[in-house]
Structure formats: C-alpha cells, structure tokens
Amino acid sequence: MAFVILKDLAYQYPSSTGLVLENISLQIQEGEFVSIIGPNGAGKSTLCYALAGFVPHFFKGEISGEVEVDGRKSSESTLDEWALNVGLAFQNPFNQISGAKYTVFEEIAFGLENIGVPRDEMKKRVEDAMSLTGISDLADRSPYSLSGGQQQRVALTSILVMRPRLLVLDEPTSQMDPVGTREVFGVVRKMAEEGMTVVMVEHKVEWIANFADRVIALKDGQILIEGKPNEVLTSDLLIENGFGISRYTSAAREARKRGLWKKEKLPVTLDEAVEGFKS
C-alpha cells in the first residue's frame, strides 16, 4: 500500500472564493522522491500544507477528500501528532528561524528539545544533520547573521534533524546558488534512498530531472500531468500551459523543427542534450 494517499482532495481557504485544490488523487510510495512544479497560484504550497496537516487544521477552510500518510488519516489526527511524522520546510527561511535561539547549532536543536530528545543524543543528531547538509562551519553563528541561502539550509537541516517519515519542501532552494541547490538535491536524494518519502516543490527543472523519481505538474489546483521526470518535463502539455521548461528542452525543440534533433526523446539536462546532439 502506498505511503501517502490523496483521495479526491479539494480545498478552499476561508477567505477565498474558488477552490484552491480540486480533484487531487495521488499515491506516493515510501522512499519516493516526488517533485511538484506549477505556475504561481497553481496550489503547490496549499498541497504542501495539506500534506503537512496545516490544511485544514491550521488554516481551517473547507476540505473534502482524504489525506492519508502511513495508513492514518489527517482528518482523524491532530496537527501536533501529524507534525511528528511529517516535516515541512518552506520558502521564506527568515520566518522559519525560531527567534528564540542564539546560535545555528541551538536553532537546529530547537525541534529536538521540543520532542524531548535527551541531550547527548540531541548533540549527536544535530552534528550529523549539519554535516549532512554541509553547514557544520555555521554552528556558532547567529541564525540571523546568515545569507538567505544559508538560512534556507538551516531551515532544511532543522526539519531533517527531526527525521520525519514524510518530508515536504516548498521551494527550499529559492535563494541558493547553483552549488547550494545541487547539494540540497543531493541530500534530499540521499534521504529518499534511506527511506524518507520526499515531496518537493521546485522550479529548477534540470535538477528535478537529475534527482526526482516522479514529477507532478499542477495547474489551477488540479494535476495537469504526472509521470517520470523526463516524460513530464518534455511534454508539449507543459509548454501549452505556460510552464517553464529547461533551456536544453527548448533548444532541442527548436533543433527538431530544423531536423537537427534526431532522437525521439527530448532532453531536460545538459548531459542528455550533449548526448542527443552528438548522435
């Protein structure tokens, strides 16, 4: 049985008039790394909130359908219980800093303190998580003195250290440079291989193609298309609906019109493009 099951999920915020999510049905296996793409207002963040239990427990509003993680229904659980299994990190890193901690090390330990992890184990887990995401050198800095990208890494580490079964990330690399982005994708991939289920909203399609198992494209609150990264990210449906596609895909499309791209499949990444143009 799938680890995450969404059944006919529809949702409306208390203050909005239309449905923000509509007819979302989805199954995600344990240890799968799923990436969500979509234009602004497609409902990506709302979907993240639904997975993490904040919709409807925190935002209220009207919900129908089911969100199920590990055999438990979100509607039958409290947010506090839900949060122990599902971790959420979102885009704005500044607001994810607790504001009650003096150093990055303590900031990352904040969640473990809340769930009562003993001190020695806590130190070990924080150190491990920091070396995993490559921020060990920031341990004694103030979380507020960091750059946006560094803060995003701290926010990600703060959630990873909690070891959630399902990790929900809403644009976790938006303020990072390419090196940072690659490292975060690498870390997330590694977590997925170790059995953590990951749902990640991202715009950087080349990285998605390299690392994710599956891509879901959302538009107007509905699933437009889903499948293997290479299929989804090169599909005509995306272009017709105004999604951003990889520059390699665009180049190969143009090349195909001129008969310069012979392969049937279009590339998403640089490597695929190089290989395709060689042949």
Partner: protein
C-alpha cells in the same frame, strides 16, 4: 553578534549569573524604587545601583544610550502634559491661556524617575542575558513553553522591527517616496511605511507558527534542553533572600501608604 536582540555579548560576572537571579534582582530594584518613600528614589537607584551593575556587566555606555533614546520621547510628552494641564500652581510663563506650572513639571520629573528605573532595569537585564537561556530558565521555573516563547521573542522584536522598517523605508524611497522635508511630507510618508510593516509582521506570525509547529513545538512531550545553565548554591540562597526582599518592599510600600 545577534543583530536582532538587545543582548550584548561580553564576558562579565553579570553575564554569567543565572537568568533567574538577574530577573529577581531587577524586580527587587523596581520594587524598591516604587515602594520606598522619597521623590528621587528612582533616580538614586538608577545612578547608584543600576549604573555600577552595568559597569560590572561592561554594558554601561550601551545602557546609557539606549535608556536615553527610549526615555526621551516619554520624558518630553510627560513633562509637556503634566506642566500644561496642572491645575493651580506657580506658572513658568503665561501666554494667553497657556501657562505651564512648575509643580506639574516637577511631578513629571518625579514620575520619570520611576519610568527610567523600570526601563533601565529591564534593559540591563536583556543586555546581559542571552534570550535562549532566559527561555530555558522560564520553562524550568514552570512557565508554559508558549508563554516563555512569547516573552523571549517579544524581547527581540524591537530591533527586528527597526531593521524591517529600515528595509521598507529604503524600498519605498527607491520607488520615489519622499521621506525628508517638512512635517507634512514626513507624515504622508508614514502610511506607505507602516502598512507593509504591520501587514508583513502579521504574515510573519502565521509562517512562524507553522514553522515552529512543524518542529514539534506543541508535541506535548516533556521538553529537554541542549544547553545547561550554570547555577551555584550561593545564587540559590541569594535568590531566596531577594524574593524575601521583594515581598518585604511590597508589604512596606502598601503599609507606608495606608
């Protein structure tokens, strides 16, 4: 180190005291200033106890300038209001109906002593106490963690607000908002700055609630803490004495006024 807190990182005896000792010390000074008779007791305590303590904590100049900046607007408005609206007394000058009174100004100066005492006391406390150790202390003292969190983050909100206001100010200026000039121009610039500040802060609260909830803030489990706060048997004794002192001052203050 932390631009978002009033805390001033220094190595000093005052810094290394247990936060609870410092809170009680602050409360004792405030209680003394409010309970003891005499118009100038507040000023006396500030000059002869709080300032030396600030020297000890190596934050004297810091404390002096912050207290000055915070209390000046208070002082001006209190003195204006009290002197102009004082009923019968010796006029300082008279222009038509305007006649501020010496007695009112005097009363304002006396009241300011109490305000300055409370302000400088708590400023000294927050300058020499790391906010995170305060939070742990409060929780250990039995304060619910949500209340402790609110207290600690509120202490840090002023510098954080200032910084955000400056960012908004810069952003609006770069879009052509006039912020310098006469009173009218400045007043008009107020709304495009205050509105994003307030709305932004409300949104921030929502996101922060989500963030800390995701990190098990309400998990209901027995919390642990990463750092240990050093305490000494002597301080435990001192705290008892201070607690008794606070109680004594309150009783004395009430009886003396009966």
């Amino acid at each position: 180190m932390n631009a978002f807190s009033m805390y001033a990182a220094r190595e000093s005896g005052l810094h290394s005291l247990h936060p609870l000792t410092k809170i009680l010390m602050t409360l004792l000074l405030v209680a003394a200033g409010l309970a003891l008779p005499g118009n100038w007791t507040g000023y006396f305590i500030v000059v002869f106890i709080i300032f030396p303590l600030a020297f000890w904590g190596r934050v004297f100049l810091n404390l002096l300038s912050t207290t000055w900046k915070v209390s000046l607007p208070f002082a001006i408005s209190v003195i204006l209001i009290q002197s102009f609206f004082w009923g019968e007394g010796t006029p300082i000058f008279e222009i038509g109906v305007l006649s501020p009174k010496w007695e009112g100004a005097m009363f304002a100066a006396v009241s300011m002593g109490k305000i300055i005492l409370v302000m400088s006391g708590f400023l000294l406390f927050s300058m020499t106490t790391r906010p995170d150790t305060l939070m742990i202390t409060l929780k250990q003292a039995g304060v619910p963690s949500s209340i402790a969190y609110i207290i600690v983050t509120t202490l840090q909100i002023v510098p954080s607000f200032q910084r955000k206001a400056l960012t908004i100010l810069d952003a609006q200026r770069s879009r052509g908002l006039e912020t310098e000039g006469n009173l009218y121009v400045r007043a008009r610039a107020f709304i495009p700055i205050i509105l994003p500040l307030v709305l932004g802060s409300l949104m921030e609260v929502e996101e922060r609630a989500i963030a800390i909830e995701s990190r098990g803030f309400n998990s209901g489990k027995k919390e642990t803490s990463l750092i240990e706060i050093p305490d000494t048997p002597l301080q435990k004794v001192i705290r008892r004495v201070i607690l008794f002192g606070i109680f004594a001052f309150i009783v004395f203050g009430v009886l003396w006024r009966l």
